[in-house]
């Protein structure tokens, strides 16, 4: 309850607007509404091992419609953080890997470099996918949709410093 938006969980009236509004609902094992109820009931293991918290795309449709003004995406990302720190196994292997690779790339270049992210993900999860997607990647390159070299921001070292400080802060807590 101490995470961002967490103090309002008790305000939830379980109306289901979040679940009904969620575009990624089909892929979740529990609906956002159920996650809120489960947090309220203290079902820690079930919550932290749910796919829902990783699948939430933070599109904020739910939050903009929530009659009780709950910041559901913030609650979801808080739960992601807790899940990363604990040993509760994540059900969708991809998600924690995705988040880790995503932040690593941002930390290095200061910007996202999609081809590298995709390569890294495939390497970590299913290397055969690299072959399957090769021709697709070439087509994207030809049309100028992706670049081979990452674009960087002015001083990417500053960015990695921010990340370092944030993780130090996290550890201290």
């Amino acid at each position: 309850m101490k995470m961002p938006g967490g103090d309002k969980i008790l305000d939830c009236i379980q109306c289901g607007v979040c679940a009904g509004s969620c575009h990624a609902r089909f892929a979740m094992d529990y609906s956002p509404m159920q996650i809120l109820k489960m947090v309220h009931l203290g079902l820690r293991r079930e919550v932290l091992s749910s796919s829902t918290i990783w699948i939430c795309a933070s599109c904020y449709t739910c939050a903009s419609r929530c009659p009780r003004s709950l910041d559901i995406p913030a609650i979801m990302s808080g739960l992601k953080n807790v899940a990363m720190r604990t040993n509760v196994p994540a059900p969708v292997a991809l998600k924690p890997i995705f988040h880790r690779q995503f932040t690593e790339i941002i930390g290095r270049y200061g910007r996202m470099h999609e081809p590298e992210l995709k390569m890294r993900l495939m390497k970590k999860t299913n290397p055969f996918e690299i072959l399957q997607n090769a021709s697709f990647g070439v087509r994207m390159f030809r049309k100028g949709k992706v670049r081979l070299r990452p674009s960087r921001i002015g001083s990417s070292t500053h960015f990695s410093e921010i990340f370092r400080n944030a993780s130090n802060e996290e550890r201290r807590r």
Partner: protein, 798 residues
């Protein structure tokens, strides 16, 4: 005083409410030693019969001539105990109450602190009691006529009930016809009887009743006078049609060239700019919409006039002002529905427009529009075909965190009713009800709900997420929270149940009448349970949706209660007037007329034989008392001697220091502090509250007395509805701060504010921040206090 005071003090445990936090035995021990206290007892429930009997017995046995009851707020039980002492033939004004529950045991957890504070509060009251004088209430005659504001079902029933009892009623209605919302309904739940069939006979009865005068197209603009003798000024808008001559043949509307959306039909159909609100309208006369009529806007046309058979059209009718003299006012102003299109402006950020598609597609309608569709012969507004698949979206804008927090109370039953009516009209229809919780609380409602299930109405437990226009139809998305599955269905018609809001103009009317609105912006009753139709002002009563959303049956019950309260108030034909009023001490008065200037009720007059105060108009606010340069006015039951004694008593004794005295205006501000107690909010124990008629009663002298007797800070809080208004409070306090400088007291030691009754958090915040401020300052040194005391003694003898 000839007979020395013999005081009885009774400390209530309140079944633990007080005694769990306050060590009553210790308080008793301390108070017993106080000068003049003959007897001090504690008891479980002082307000119970044995408790009251104890007081009565002691008054007779111990020859008590003053009584102090230390228990709950005087707002709760002052009348109870006054009656008790009266039974023992003691003047009721010789009793006073020390509030050690709402303003002590309920706001502090520390037992020691609560005990010393309770002792101080009681000691203050004991000191005050020593100076109490017997007073007698005065009787005045009351006007037995009643004004009912609002001609919906509540106003109609209240008028009939009162008129049948023999009271003359003025029924003031804003629109051209009485009938209100109920006139727009098709059938009513759960009995499914036709709304017009049960309403219109009542409307006709009202119009023919010899004791009722309907004043339509009228609104109150000012209310003056006092309970029992109000004077209401109403403006009557011109109808431009002579009601007596109009035979409502409709010839005028037939020829009128201007069309506008019909208000009665909720904008679903058009009517002319000369129109009859609806067929059964009372008064049954046409009316011209001045904003649209070509004659008023372009100076042409007047065709209606030519065709009118009864020569009833009067283009030069003028606005009329009428003054109504009444004894009581009943507010039945009803509700309005939240327009989902305006939600963003009203509630900032809450976009019900986009979410529900209201206004984007003609087939998204409100439940009130659906009522009209039913009466017109059920069809989709986009075509003339009957709808087959209909979704009912409940809680649109209700039960929100921002915006409307309360439940609309009628949405569930109304949707069930409409689903059943739809099935009757279109047997192969498919009604779906999307709900958050079905609230079937009334008589016969659960059975009604069961009936709907038996008729295969589909209930989906989940609030509607969005409604998206899809060409001819509508796509609705929601979560079925029971199956934990998203629902995406195509519908022909979507019916919204919008939140209910207080009617337009409620805030202005509340100001005119001097009554409160609650945090929900509806009119506030005096007590949630025990005075549910009374307001804080005597002679002003409430009924129906003016108090909050409710259904017709509940409204009917309320109007009966209200009518009964009105007759209780006016029935005796006379009223007792509080003796707690200001009076002039002629030997001191130099007729400077300063008081005449400041009196908020114009009760003070300068006559050749001197300045006089009208005892009926005087509300006993005491503003004149503090303003009088020669101390020639005093206030009964809040005399200078009583107030100073209470200040000194409250400041003495041990307990936490610093010490803060808070003067609270006795109705609203004091009530707000009581509310903090009822909500169990805690605040600094240094704050001790003294009730005053208004903070305008408190003068520099009282502040100096507080500082001389160990106080370190003074707070003044006024009710925002008080005649002593915010800027006057500020000016008064600033003047006193300046004067305090002469005695070396920093102006930071005084704080003031105004509050409404429900804003107890404002009061508590001031207590808390002021306590922190005073704690940071050094205490006033004893020498300085001594000096102030000497100065006070000097001026007193002078």
């Amino acid at each position: 005083m000839t007979i020395p005071p013999s005081i009885g003090v009774y400390i209530c445990h309140c079944g633990g409410n007080i005694s769990d936090t306050v060590d009553v035995a210790k308080v008793k021990e301390a108070i017993t030693k106080s000068h003049g206290v003959k007897i001090c007892e504690t008891y479980d429930y002082m307000c119970s019969k044995p408790g009251q009997d104890m007081i009565e017995r002691d008054i007779n046995e111990h020859k008590l001539n003053r009584v102090v009851v230390a228990s709950c707020s005087p707002r709760m039980h002052l009348d109870t105990f006054r009656r008790a002492v009266k039974r023992a033939r003691l003047n009721p004004y010789l009793l006073d109450m020390a509030n050690i529950r709402e303003q002590c045991s309920w706001v502090h957890d520390d037992k020691e602190l609560a005990t010393t504070k309770a002792t101080a509060i009681i000691r203050g009251m004991v000191e005050r009691a020593r100076h109490l004088e017997p007073l007698e209430a005065k009787k005045i005659a009351v006007n037995r006529d009643v004004a009912v504001v609002g001609g919906g079902i509540a106003g109609i029933l209240a008028s009939i009930e009162l008129a049948d009892k023999g009271y003359k009623v003025y029924l003031i209605e804003r629109s051209p016809s009485i009938g209100g919302r109920m006139a727009q309904l098709s059938k009513t739940f759960p009995t499914l009887d036709c709304s017009a069939c049960i309403l219109t006979p009542k409307m006709v009865y009202v119009s023919q009743h010899p004791n009722i005068e309907i004043i339509d197209m009228a609104e109150p603009i000012a209310v003056n006078g006092s309970p029992g003798n109000y004077s209401i000024t109403v403006t009557i808008r011109p109808r431009y049609v002579d009601k007596e001559r109009c035979i409502s043949c409709g010839e005028c509307a037939r020829v009128c060239p201007v069309k506008k959306p019909s208000e009665h039909e909720e904008g679903l159909t058009q009517e002319k700019s000369i129109f009859l609100p609806f067929k059964q309208a009372v008064p049954n006369a046409y009316v011209i919409d001045r904003d649209l009529c070509l004659w008023f806007n372009k100076g042409v046309c007047r065709v209606c006039e030519r065709f009118c058979k009864g020569k009833a059209i009067v283009f030069d009718q003028k606005e009329e002002i009428r003054e109504l003299k009444v004894g009581a006012v009943v507010v039945c102003t009803g509700y309005q529905q939240l327009d989902p299109r305006l939600s963003k402006e009203i509630f900032g950020g809450l976009d019900l427009f986009g979410q529900y598609g209201f206004g984007l597609h003609p087939d998204v309608v409100t439940n009130l529009q659906f009522e009209r569709l039913m009466l017109q012969g059920i069809h989709r507004p986009s075509s003339n075909n009957p709808p087959k698949k209909v979704a009912f979206a409940l809680c649109v804008g209700s039960r929100m965190d921002q915006g409307v927090q309360y439940c609309c109370k009628i949405g569930c039953m109304n949707a069930i009713k409409q689903a059943l009516l739809l099935l009757k009209a279109v047997p192969d229809a498919e009604p779906w009800i999307f709900y958050t919780d079905i609230r079937a609380h009334g008589k016969g409602y659960e059975e009604f709900y069961s009936n709907a299930r038996a008729h295969n109405v589909k209930f989906i437990r989940g609030r509607v997420a969005e409604v998206v226009p899809n060409g001819d139809s509508l796509i609705l998305r929601a979560e079925d929270t029971i199956l934990s599955r998203q629902v995406e269905e195509e519908f022909d018609l979507v019916v919204l149940s919008p939140a209910l809001l207080p009617n337009e103009g409620s805030a202005e009317l509340s100001k005119m009448l001097g009554i409160d609105l609650g945090l929900d912006s509806f009119f506030l009753e005096k007590h949630h349970k025990l005075r549910p139709v009374d307001t804080k002002r005597e002679g002003v009563y409430l009924a129906g949706c003016a108090l909050g959303p409710k259904d017709i049956r509940e409204t009917t019950i309320e109007t009966m209660a209200t009518a009964s309260k009105v007759t209780t108030f006016l029935g005796k034909g006379e009223l007792s007037v509080s003796p707690e009023i200001a009076h002039i001490l002629p030997e001191r008065c130099n007729a400077c007329e300063e008081c005449v200037k400041y009196c908020p009720t114009k009760a003070i007059e300068s006559t050749p034989s001197g300045v006089v105060i009208n005892s009926i108009s005087c509300t006993g606010c005491g503003i004149c008392v503090a303003r009088c340069p020669t101390e020639a006015i005093d206030l009964k039951h809040s005399t200078d001697a009583q107030l100073i004694a209470q200040i000194q008593g409250t400041c003495t004794g041990e307990g936490d220091r610093p010490l803060i005295i808070a003067f609270l205006e006795r109705t609203t501000a004091y009530g707000s502090a009581d509310l903090a107690g009822q909500t169990r909010v805690s605040y600094a124990g240094s704050v001790r509250i003294i009730a005053v008629p208004s903070t305008g009663r408190v003068s520099l002298r009282h502040l100096l007395h507080a500082f001389a007797s160990d106080a370190d800070g003074v707070i003044l809080i006024e009710g925002d509805d008080s005649p002593f208004q915010e800027d006057q409070v500020r000016e008064h306090v600033n003047n006193m701060k300046k004067e305090l400088g002469r005695f070396g007291v920093e102006s930071l030691r005084v704080a003031s504010t105004t509050t409404t009754l429900p804003q107890y958090d404002k009061v508590v915040n001031l207590f808390q921040t002021f306590h922190e401020r005073i704690s940071k300052m050094k205490r006033i040194p004893p020498e300085k206090r001594q000096k102030i005391a000497e100065a006070l003694a000097g001026s007193g003898s002078a």
